[in-house]
């Protein structure tokens, strides 16, 4: 086997690959942020009106939940580096619990809007001015895409839990856990930008 074989276990390579992939995720949301800013500039008043409809309390709770879950992932990585597999797995379960809390919270938040008829195609929504329609549509589109990322990240973490239990990820071979942690931090980071854009600017 060559010393530089592509089939060697190379944690640096997979970490580099993960970072590159995170760049693409940032650019994916970057396109949406661009659209958001252009339409915010074109419909300043309507965006402002619409943003009052969002529930800041629910948004704040979700922000706290996600930031804390980033902490538990980071702690889980440190735990595995120290060889404490049991602790590491438990911290990952807590992270998953936070992820599910976030999604349940999001579900209630969306259902309140939909009960008030604020969803594309509903009567109340159709009566809104174009700018407010755009605001709510971008709200659903961007937070929806973010929620998809939460689900993907949670599955990723679930797989890592299984792999730690099976002994495939351990103190000496930690890169899969590190990469899922990186991904989770990114999902957190994107929410930290989404939260002020939709809930706080007024």
């Amino acid at each position: 086997m060559l010393p530089n074989s592509g089939h060697n276990f190379d944690p640096e390579a997979s970490k580099l690959g993960m970072w590159l992939f995170l760049f693409t995720e940032i650019l994916l949301f970057g396109g949406l942020f661009l659209v958001y800013f252009v339409y915010r500039k074109l419909n300043t008043e309507a965006f402002l009106q619409a943003s009052y409809e969002l529930n800041i309390t629910l948004g704040t709770v979700n922000t706290v939940v996600l930031i804390t879950s980033s902490l538990t992932v980071a702690m889980s990585i440190t735990a595995l580096q120290l060889g404490k597999e049991k602790l590491s797995i438990n911290l990952l379960w807590i992270t998953l619990l936070f992820a599910i809390t976030f999604l349940i919270n999001k579900y209630f938040e969306w259902s309140f809007k939909i009960e008030h008829g604020i969803f594309p195609g509903m009567e109340h929504y159709n009566g809104l001015p174009n700018g407010e329609k755009l605001f709510f549509f971008l709200y659903y589109f961007m937070t929806g895409l973010h929620a998809v990322h939460i689900i993907v990240g949670a599955i990723f973490i679930g797989v890592v839990i299984k792999k730690i239990q099976d002994g495939k990820v351990h103190q000496g071979r930690i890169s899969l856990l590190e990469n899922s942690g990186l991904y989770w931090h990114l999902v957190d980071l994107i929410w930290i930008y989404l939260f002020p854009l939709f809930y706080l600017i007024n």
């Binding site: 074989s5 592509g6 580099l16 659209v35 174009n130 549509f137």
Partner: protein, 534 residues
């Protein structure tokens, strides 16, 4: 014992059966699966192109109706751009030769490589489904400009999703190459001992990585707008169609460098091999690849000079576009300087490389005409643009791909083709190509608009010349492919190094064994192009 057997067999022979191909992690097999799929789509796209030219042989309706023509040129564009030319050189030759040129046995992330191929196939299936479902393929042009793409009843959603999935495949290939180049270079191979093909793939990969997500999200927005009827881009419900154009070209302009840069890499490898001379200005060529990739991000506005942008914005985009000519010209001068006083061996790969330089220059210089604001207002959306684009993409990248195919054919399949036949096919291709596309440049200057199935009678003569050119081109293509297919079955064994190249891939056997090298590859003392003939 088992070790000697492993290197006795080449990568075709180690395993048999369809499953050993579809689920292989071997970069060479993945490259060949790409090759067959991409070749098939190239032939479909070329057939559509010939049908378009046939429609345009005379004014009025000749063989198809206006809507059919719109669908045919859209499908031609989607197939040629997303399924053929963007993946072509990186996915085929990049996959096959990047690890060998770096002196390693595979890419850094082999499973991801297989995933890219499967995503490519899924995207291709989506693109083909548009043919059989509902109202047929999209009729928007490959650019899917809003608001028409939001309103038409044809299968825009499926086509757009196909482009999204193919974009994902392209991102993963680029990601894999960057990691491979960072991590797997042979011991002792620094950045400036890499072959220039690897450099061009490195530049390309960064574009794939950093530009593709933007078009991905933009296309998803088109899908969302079609589903929910929200005015993201449709002005009648409050959207901004110019914003769509900006977002689209932020990706799609850099994408033309995804198509062009790997081609330049092939040329940089062919020329020193057949001039038997070290490449002139190695670092200048390497840096100019990175410079093109970098500047390429800031020029997208030149697609929109007539769409409504402020004066200063147009002037800035025009100036930036002229900047791209500098690194491109640096490459051309270096290639020509490499040939100067070389002991030139005029084999088919070099012929294709020379054709590349000539045709790419025609494409590049007409590009400057389009970059100039005043001139662009006159020729925007005319056949001048179509001619320019095909000179760059087909005359440039397409011919580089054919050149690469003739250069590496003996390595990949271990057989040598008939040189005389290859030269004849090349001559016919050159004649056909220039006859097909040069009249388009004149037609454009005369004012014939693009994307119509009909035209004014005064344009007839040049259109007939162009259509006859397309037939000659097809004859050349068939001869070229037949020659290679005959060689595949009956060619003489090529041996390790038929071109007497000193590049790393020629040190191993043809076809290479599974792990690429049967002995530890030996790096050249003075860099990858250190020929004795100074």
């Amino acid at each position: 014992m088992s070790e000697t057997i492993a290197t006795d067999l080449n990568f075709f022979q180690v395993k048999k059966g369809i499953r050993s191909w579809l689920f292989t992690l071997d970069h060479k097999r993945i490259a060949l699966m790409y090759f067959y799929a991409i070749l098939a789509f190239f032939l479909i796209g070329a057939t559509l192109g010939v049908l378009m030219r046939l429609e345009l042989i005379a004014p009025g309706e000749t063989i198809m109706k206006a809507k059919t023509y719109n669908q045919v040129f859209t499908l031609h564009g989607v197939i040629m751009i997303f399924l053929f030319i963007i993946p072509s050189i990186p996915a085929i030759f990049g996959n096959f030769f990047l690890p060998i040129m770096l002196g390693t046995d595979d890419v850094a992330l082999p499973k991801l490589n297989l995933l890219s191929w499967w995503l490519y196939i899924v995207g291709a299936v989506f693109a083909l489904l548009t043919l059989v479902i509902g109202d047929g393929p999209a009729d928007t042009g490959w650019t899917f400009y809003a608001p028409y793409s939001v309103q038409t009843g044809t299968n825009v959603t499926l086509s757009v999703l196909a482009a999204f999935i193919l974009g994902f495949s392209s991102i993963l290939t680029g990601l894999n190459f960057i990691v491979t180049i960072h991590r797997l270079r042979a011991p002792g191979m620094g950045w400036f001992q890499m072959p220039l093909f690897a450099w061009s793939l490195y530049a390309t990969s960064w574009i794939q990585l950093l530009a593709t997500p933007i078009v991905g999200i933009t296309l998803l927005m088109i899908v969302a707008e079609r589903f929910f009827g929200i005015g993201l881009f449709d002005p009648s419900i409050g959207g901004d169609p110019i914003l769509y154009q900006h977002l689209f070209w932020i990706y799609s302009h850099p994408a033309v460098y995804i198509m062009a840069l790997p081609a330049m890499g092939i040329i940089s490898d062919i020329i020193p091999t057949f001039a038997k001379r070290t490449i002139f200005g190695y670092k200048a060529i390497a840096y100019s690849s990175m410079a093109i990739a970098f500047v390429g991000y800031f020029v997208w506005g030149h697609h929109m000079f007539t769409s409504g942008m402020s004066g200063p914005a147009r002037i800035i985009f025009s100036v930036l576009t002229f900047l791209v000519a500098i690194p491109t010209a640096i490459k051309v001068f270096n290639w020509v300087a490499t040939l100067y006083k070389g002991s030139i061996d005029l084999q088919p790969p070099l012929l294709y490389a020379l054709a590349f330089i000539f045709q790419f220059m025609v494409g590049g210089l007409t590009g400057l005409v389009l970059a100039a604001l005043a001139a662009d207002i006159h020729v925007h959306d005319t056949y001048f643009v179509v001619g320019h684009f095909h000179y760059v993409m087909f005359g440039g990248t397409g011919f580089a791909l054919f050149g690469g195919l003739h250069y590496w054919f003996p390595k990949i399949w271990g057989k040598m083709y008939n040189i005389r036949m290859a030269n004849i096919a090349f001559t016919i291709l050159i004649i056909g190509f220039n006859m097909l596309y040069f009249p388009m440049l004149i037609l454009g200057l005369l004012g014939m608009p693009r994307r119509y199935y009909d035209y004014l009678p005064q344009f007839t003569d040049l259109n007939v010349v162009s259509t006859v050119g397309s037939w000659i081109l097809i004859i050349g293509l068939i001869m070229m492919l037949t020659n290679l297919i005959v060689a595949y079955f009956n060619g003489k064994p090529a041996g390790r190094n038929p071109w007497n190249s000193i590049s790393l891939e020629w040190q191993t056997k043809s076809p290479p064994p599974l792990e690429n090298f049967d002995k530890q590859p030996k790096l050249n003392e003075g860099g990858p192009y250190h020929y004795q003939n100074k």
